[in-house]
Symmetry: C2
Subunit: 172 residues, 2 copies
């Protein structure tokens, strides 16, 4: 009886830790693709910058890991497996501080971060979406909106075939 | 006679190579400060992004070497000697290609590069300009406009003292 009770307790504890692990994965990985935020991406090489008006109203930087950057520099398409591209974005914000020294209001800077989007190339794992898996992260937490995730491929897939589903060009 | 002739020839060759070296330095280093373009800056860590309208009409990225980035991350001011900050800029360009997939024209990207500006912290070497030396490079060649170089310090020096003459804040 006592032994059975201990076993039941152990099973319960194991169950709880499995649930905790599942919960952790839930916030760390994107739905549909299971893409996580690369640990060191903030130090990756700059690919380019961009700015979006409209609903986004952001200013953005696109960074790449070594595999992605090497492919960019060599003009290699499709991107090889292992290439990862990260798009950071911040609120597009007027800078009165900078404008004080300019002839007219003209300076815009990065405000609070909005979200980070990650594209991972793995032609086998993500074969159903052109070889790319996607994730979007707010404050390091993976957005769990399945429709949002599905919209990544739908939109990237509209690009010309030679782009290998990537919007951003290398900024020399 | 013959030995003297050879010596004269050697001196001539030496003179030519000195002139060539001076010419190389002239295009590689900024006037006033003697700042050169760091060899590997394009792979440095992103500090932030910005966008300027008006005469500049550019979109920009600010990168830093390890010393600068460490100071940014720790909020350390003034920046320690050895900190180097590089500002890249490109024409601010509408992207009809991207806009084709957006609800309205809203996407701006990096066009042709305009120039690269370099700020080097060395409190002794650049004591006369608040510890910072400056350079501006077009296609890798140092701009030789002395007045332009002098305007760097004049403008950066208008900032609040706690900024240590640096406009850009770290983008989280």
């Amino acid at each position: 009886m006592m032994r059975g009770g201990l076993l039941a307790l152990a099973a319960l504890a194991l169950g709880a830790s499995t649930v905790a692990a599942a919960e952790r994965d839930r916030v760390e990985a994107s739905p549909v693709y299971g893409v996580t935020l690369p640990k060191d991406y903030r130090h990756w090489t700059l690919i380019s910058v961009a700015q979006e008006n409209g609903k986004n109203n952001d200013i953005r930087a696109i960074l790449g890991n070594d595999i992605a950057v090497k492919a960019y520099r060599k003009g290699k398409r499709p991107f090889p497996d292992g290439a990862v591209i990260v798009r950071l974005a911040w609120h597009y914000q007027s800078s009165p501080r900078n404008d004080a020294f300019f002839p007219s209001p003209q300076s815009f800077v990065a405000g609070e971060p909005t979200n980070v989007q990650v594209s991972v190339k793995d032609s086998k794992r993500f074969a159903a979406s052109g070889g790319w898996g996607y994730g979007q992260f707010e404050k390091g937490v993976a957005n769990q909106d399945v429709k949002l995730m599905q919209s990544c491929f739908t939109c990237h897939n509209k690009l010309e075939k030679s782009a290998d589903l990537v919007f951003t060009a290398w900024a020399p």
